[in-house]
């Protein structure tokens, strides 16, 4: 109830951007474009959900982009260069990503290191490792259309609807989102996660196994990042160690924070993250579709609109909460 009101501002901006883009470029609402948008938003939504789990505990994960690089580059490399079967590669890499996330969690909880620092080291290390392992070579699936790749770029035709099909990553996102939503809002684990983010000492006093829950959140973030990395590379077909996934942690965190997560912890909504992720993708799409916006100011437009969205959000919140208090 409270969470949903929070999203009105950003939802409004999303709708506004979509309407304006449609006016300037009708092809925005073509089936093909919508499919593209859904696929991209799904990919960023998945890593956004991962980021939000960690953010809810009051932590942060800066290593998302580099972990995407690690998984994204190793997948095609192991399959095509080393020649391992995909049935082994995919689970192995997802487990690796989960374990790496778990390591972050262990360092944060057991050694009490700051999450920012731990995952910053991750950001450097995973990218360096990937570049080292692949010796800076691009890794790609080559020309062979592996069955695996339909996970990333496949389309699921709906009975009775022509010309439009659900992108496979969207289906995966929906599954992940539903599970995460339940986890966060309907299970004890999720309740404890939020409590830790609100007040870790209080959570500890209530007998919550704070460390375990936190490590779990980092591990889940690792897993979701791994899934994201896999889908990204299945979609693009190849990955370059030096820049695959660069800055994606910022997009993931931006989606989470736009969607109502507070970096102080304790707050967050899965639906918000999805809207946040979509907003960024729609914006990037709009910039190419609308004539006359030079490509070079893309970032400025994205930044400006995000800022407008948060300000709108805040304005709406102030408007709806009649009483003010200083605290």
């Amino acid at each position: 109830m409270r969470d949903e009101r929070k999203l009105l501002g950003i939802l409004g901006v999303l709708v506004a951007v979509a309407v304006v883009t449609t006016l300037f470029s009708p092809s925005f609402v073509s089936a093909y474009n919508i499919e593209n948008l859904l696929r991209r938003s799904a990919l960023f939504g998945i890593i956004g959900i991962g980021a939000s789990l960690v953010i809810i505990t009051g932590g942060i994960d800066l290593s998302i982009g580099s972990l995407i690089c690690l998984v994204g580059c190793l997948t095609p490399w192991l399959i095509t260069v080393v020649g391992v079967t995909p049935w082994l590669v995919v689970p192995a890499l997802l487990i690796l990503a989960t374990l790496l996330g778990m390591c972050h969690g262990l360092l944060v909880t057991r050694l009490k290191l700051q999450p920012f620092l731990v995952t910053l080291c991750g950001l450097f290390i995973y990218r360096g490792l990937t570049r080292g392992i692949l010796a800076d070579n691009t890794a790609g699936f080559g020309t062979e259309g592996s069955a695996l790749r339909t996970l990333g770029n496949g389309r699921i035709h709906l009975p009775g609807i022509d010309g439009f099909a659900l992108p496979a990553p969207l289906v995966i996102l929906i599954v992940i989102a539903v599970i995460s939503w339940l986890l966060l809002n309907r299970t004890v684990w999720g309740r404890h996660l939020k409590a830790i983010g609100c007040n870790e000492t209080a959570a500890r006093h209530c007998g919550i196994a704070v460390d375990r829950v936190k490590i779990g959140a980092y591990a889940l973030c690792g897993l979701l990042t791994g899934i994201g990395g896999l889908l990204f590379v299945l979609d693009t077909g190849s990955a370059q160690p030096s820049n695959f996934g660069n800055f994606y942690e910022l997009y993931a965190i931006a989606a989470a924070v736009l969607g109502g997560c507070s970096l102080r912890g304790g707050e967050g909504s899965i639906i918000g993250v999805l809207i946040g992720a979509t907003l960024v993708q729609v914006l990037r799409n709009a910039i190419v579709l609308i004539d006359g916006i030079p490509d070079s100011i893309e970032f400025a437009v994205i930044g400006g609109i995000i800022l407008i969205a948060v300000i709108a959000d805040e304005a709406i919140r102030r408007f709806t909460t009649a009483h003010k208090s200083l605290k």
Binding site: L182, R186, T187, V188, R191, H192, K194, A195, C198, N199, T201, A202, A203, R204, H205, C206, G207, I208, A209, G266, E267, H323, K324, S325, L326, K327
Partner: protein, 499 residues
């Protein structure tokens, strides 16, 4: 009812913090069906002893036994699993979460598919609130509640579990007599059911009322252990403080001109306009139940909350929501929650002491006059008897009562013209409280206007010239203290008729 086997024992436990020996070879056995009170001056080591017994701290020497077995608890989770619950001295709640979520944190009922059973949650939450007679909606975030209400939630949570041993560290410090009675009834009921209760409090009347045994600590040493019938107030004071307390004799002061004027004040917690005058040399007490709106009134005056109406200090109007300006005008507010509102816990005593008046201690170009700051801090530590008497210690390393002294002291150092205090002696021991009262009387003699809220009837009656009673944000009585009684105030506070 008393079972012979102790549920939990401390066997000559010692805990040192750096050079300070907070608890020195203390042994204590706690049995089911008994209420044990631990009393002692501020910094005597009460909280530390309790923290050792419930796994927050690990003892440097000695051991903790539960049911005769030596255990090494690693945090409150272990303690809870052994049936040991603890309400710490400083409130710890998840502010952004709702009342029911806070009440059930850590023991959420699980329904189908491993999901939380929300209906069951609400039922249990309502039940726990009934125990402490708190009537608030279950879905509001606890940050929207007053301090006393939040304290009751923390208590309700601990009462509700199936704890065999319950440690309460100054649970009643901000509760008014009505709530205190309910709480004490509850723990007596728990005791009768066989649980062991350990109560830390500075309100000796409560000890007299419920304690079966009393342990007195001084400087980390156990100095005495009294059993049921020996528990008597003056004896406890003598054991704690090492001397008898003289009842203070107040010299007559005449009130002067109006220093604080409140006209037509309304705010979110005060639907009806409030009028109030505080004259120089006058001490006015705000009385009321938990959530009556006393803290909110003080905060609104000081400029921490939105309000309408006029507030004047010495004839000059104070703008709303501008605490910096209020400080400039000679207004000071000792807040209710020292940890969250009063102190920068990681900073030292000295840094905290000069924080509000730092402009005045500052030299040219905003330069820090460190020697002046040091002087202010030393004065504070000496005059209020903060222990240990060091100024370069992080405030977080002080005991609760000593932290409170720092909060009060930093405002006194500013020599305000109008002093607002919210539960000023919360957590302060009896000896120090008398001294503090004397300080306040001296201040009013010097022409300071004092408006304070207190939940302790004794304090209200002994310290004030007049009592203003609030009920649900409205003033229900404005009485001259010498002509009133505890019963009359309580009747007004509960919204009833003052007979």
């Amino acid at each position: 009812m008393t079972s012979s086997e102790p549920l939990i024992e401390a066997c000559s436990v010692t805990k040192r913090f750096g050079g300070v020996c907070a608890v020195d070879a203390v042994s204590l056995s706690i049995r089911g069906g008994e209420i044990t009170a631990i009393i002692g001056e501020n910094g005597a080591g009460k909280s530390t002893l309790v923290k050792l017994l419930c796994g927050v701290h690990r003892a440097d020497e000695g051991e903790v036994r539960i049911d005769g077995q030596t255990v090494a608890m690693n945090g409150p989770a272990d303690a809870l699993s052994l049936g040991i619950a603890h309400i710490p001295q400083e409130l710890e709640l998840c502010d952004a979460m709702s009342v029911s979520q806070n009440l059930l944190l850590g023991c959420e009922p699980i329904g189908r598919f491993g999901l939380i059973d929300e209906d069951q949650c609400l039922r249990q939450a309502r039940h726990s609130l009934e125990k402490v007679s708190l009537e608030i909606p279950l879905d509001v975030p606890v940050r929207d509640l007053g301090h006393g209400q939040r304290q009751l939630i923390a208590i309700a949570r601990a009462l509700d579990g199936d704890a065999r041993v319950l440690f309460l560290d100054e649970p009643t410090a901000t509760l008014s007599p009505a709530e205190t009675t309910i709480l004490l009834d509850q723990i007596v009921a728990m005791k009768t059911a066989g649980a062991a209760i350990v109560l830390i409090t500075h309100r000796l009347a409560e000890v007299e009322q419920v304690a079966d045994r009393v342990m007195v600590l001084r400087d980390g040493h156990p100095v005495a252990s009294l059993a049921g019938d020996e528990v008597e107030r003056s004896e406890m004071v003598r054991l704690m403080v090492g001397r008898d307390l003289e009842p203070i004799q107040e010299q007559e002061t005449t009130s002067g001109e109006v220093r604080l004027l409140i006209k037509d004040l309304t705010s979110s917690a005060h639907p009806d306009p409030i009028h109030l005058e505080v004259r120089a040399g006058e001490r006015i007490a705000l009385a009321g139940l938990v959530g009556a709106g006393r803290s909110e009134l003080l905060e609104a005056l000081f400029g921490l909350r939105d309000r309408t109406g006029v507030v004047e200090v010495d004839g000059i109007t104070i703008p709303p929501i501008d605490p910096a300006r209020s400080v400039e005008m000679g207004l000071a507010l000792v807040p209710e929650e020292r940890a969250s509102q009063g102190l920068a816990l990681q900073m030292t005593v000295e840094q905290n002491a000069v924080l509000p008046g730092i402009h005045r201690h500052g030299g040219a170009f905003g330069w820090l006059e460190r020697r002046a700051g040091e002087k202010v801090a030393r004065q504070l530590v000496e005059s209020l008897d903060v222990r240990p008497a060091a100024t370069d210690l992080a405030v977080s390393e002080l005991s609760g009562g000593n932290q409170q002294k720092v909060v009060i002291g930093k405002w006194l150092a500013l020599h305000p013209g109008v002093l607002l205090l919210d539960e000023p002696t919360r957590g302060v021991d009896v000896g120090a409280r008398e001294e503090l009262h004397q300080r306040l009387m001296q201040l009013s003699k010097d022409g300071v206007a004092i408006l304070f809220s207190s939940s302790e009837m004794e304090e209200v009656l002994s310290l004030s010239h007049r009592v203003v009673v609030l009920h649900e944000g409205r003033i229900t009585g404005n009485l001259t203290t010498s002509n009133t009684s505890e019963e009359q105030i309580m009747a007004l506070a509960t919204g009833g008729d003052p007979r």
